[in-house]
Symmetry: C2
Subunit: 403 residues, 2 copies
Amino acid sequence: MRPGDRLEIHLPAGFRFSAGSAGIKASGRPDLALVESAPATTATAMFTSNRVVAAPIEVGRESLLASRGRVRALIVNSGNANCATGPAGIRNCKAVCSALAGLLQVSPQEVFPSSTGIIGVPLPVEKVVSQLPELVAKRAATHKAVRAFAEAIMTTDTKPKIASARFVANHRTINMLGIAKGSGMIHPQLATMLVYLFTDLVATPAQLKRLLRNTCSGTFNCISVDGDTSTNDTVLLMASGESGVHVRDAAVEAKFHNALLGVCRSLSEQIVADGEGVKHVVRLKIEQARTRDEAMQIARTIAHSLLVKTAFAGADPNWGRILAAVGRSGVPVNPRRVNIFIGSELVCRGGVSLPFPAIKVHAEMSKPNYEIRIRLGRGRATATYLTTDLTTDYVRINAEYST
Amino acid sequence: MRPGDRLEIHLPAGFRFSAGSAGIKASGRPDLALVESAPATTATAMFTSNRVVAAPIEVGRESLLASRGRVRALIVNSGNANCATGPAGIRNCKAVCSALAGLLQVSPQEVFPSSTGIIGVPLPVEKVVSQLPELVAKRAATHKAVRAFAEAIMTTDTKPKIASARFVANHRTINMLGIAKGSGMIHPQLATMLVYLFTDLVATPAQLKRLLRNTCSGTFNCISVDGDTSTNDTVLLMASGESGVHVRDAAVEAKFHNALLGVCRSLSEQIVADGEGVKHVVRLKIEQARTRDEAMQIARTIAHSLLVKTAFAGADPNWGRILAAVGRSGVPVNPRRVNIFIGSELVCRGGVSLPFPAIKVHAEMSKPNYEIRIRLGRGRATATYLTTDLTTDYVRINAEYST
């Protein structure tokens, strides 16, 4: 599953989707999206690590606690992040949840909210609420409705992001669907990564939580476009239970984990590849680290280095910048044991320059996707991290603003 | 003392300067610079925190230890960083020091080396050595020689960086001179900050060390253009003792510290303002932090945020990006207590948006230098940090490369 792949959608039973335009976006494009789920649905969520969090994050976190991981509906608006909006922001968010709960005859705590868009601007709550009846009326378990949902949650994204998987367990087919938005950056305000994962497996919220945490650490936590963390980032996993197959069986769990990982990996790659101004997606493989933590620390330092990212933009085999980033990562690396490969070519051995076919390496770095391997000679731990180049387009997009 | 100010040069007694062209730079521009100092000269140095260090850093550190802080000469080449060059790099560096020591009849350990320029390329040691006799012959204690030295150590710098101060202590005049290079970034390889500080005060290496460490923490360690740390960064402080005035007197120390701080602050500002592509230098003032460390941590996170830096490029009063950087800094800040000022205007109160005169704030942010204050409401510690915008020019310059 690679960015851009056209995937078949395997619709998990127990979910109905819809989308519409509430007029939050000045463009009039779709900006409101709904999922309704079956009565037995369990859920777990992971939120931004930013101390500054938007109102829907606070409300969603409280609701999941209060409902003990029961979710009957998901309501997402784009065009307004409902962040830095104070107590009024919380009231507005709860008003939307309550209105939807009334229409669906569920508890307000079973409605999970998300917002993405401009920050510091009050959410136009009447516009949202008045659009809800139509959204509820047209909800459907169709591919078309899934695509409409994926499009309505977009902000700076240039394409909708969907990934899907299925597997057979206990003679039944289990479906897995993921929908995401996020292009890792912001125009004109903070971008947000929102990820919604749906399955028809039976699972407790605790089981979902453990699996989701484990999956995120190797996927959504291993991507970077600009190193900034949004105030609204959310990953929500919902299990309708409609397949009747329970995840507690170890064989089922293994298959489910695998499907979840595949879907999350694909969505991660789609998010990175859709970063504004991005021309190259680079897979950093850190090898021979002492621990995974130190491998991740080095990966993050390289992934966020402006000098490395601008070298990527120029398809410049400037391994000195990579080596210097390793050196300032805070990990006590011995540079004399560091080997760096660009694609299959060894360009730095033992921290020292090495003659290499520059034209071939430049050609490798001109591809939209390629790999750089850094061997540390310290141990056996590894980490893989997706990063991007930094282009003049990125700066132009993020510097433009009309006050 | 602000960037661009034309400062009078106060030449400390006991130092002679010269510069020349050894042909390391393909352009034929000056690339070799020498300082010879009086026999009683003491010195201390601070080096890059990068684990990957260039040969001159290793040699210089060893020599200072071996000579117990005695330095009789400083030899700097630009155009080649002598980094990632392995054992041959160390041998080449020592060969240059030995050749110069022979000419000046001092110990090789009393010669302090520096290099800046491209990494991973062997230092053309014969070219350097053959130029040394001419350099030694023309050394002089003149303003012209100081300027020639400052120009010969430049790489991507667009202007030489000199700052000077003088003060009277014990009825004598003490002079302080600083020369630096560095524009915070790299073309085509790693940029380096080199700072040389000269005084005619009497001081032990230990006294110099304490004063230099203290001064750097508030000046060179509080600036950022791109967040990358060079493999060659060096700050060297030399005291010739020629004034006969000793720093051990508390009143003298206070005056000297003040002069040192002024010179280092000016050089810091000159380095930041000369960052390639830089159009705006922003002074971040973090106030009401619990400790200086946490104030610095927040300052660094804001200073390095791509979203904040691109907003600066567009003179965009996008305080949401600043608040979000505070939130992800790792300091347990309560966003509801955060106030943000751009210039004199309060733009965010208690973490919430506030109507503000956008045109006035945009005008403030259009200035080449301005201030942003972030009040945390946690305590009484502060930090000041200089950062820059990130422009398309920066990316263009750092992405260009000919393999």
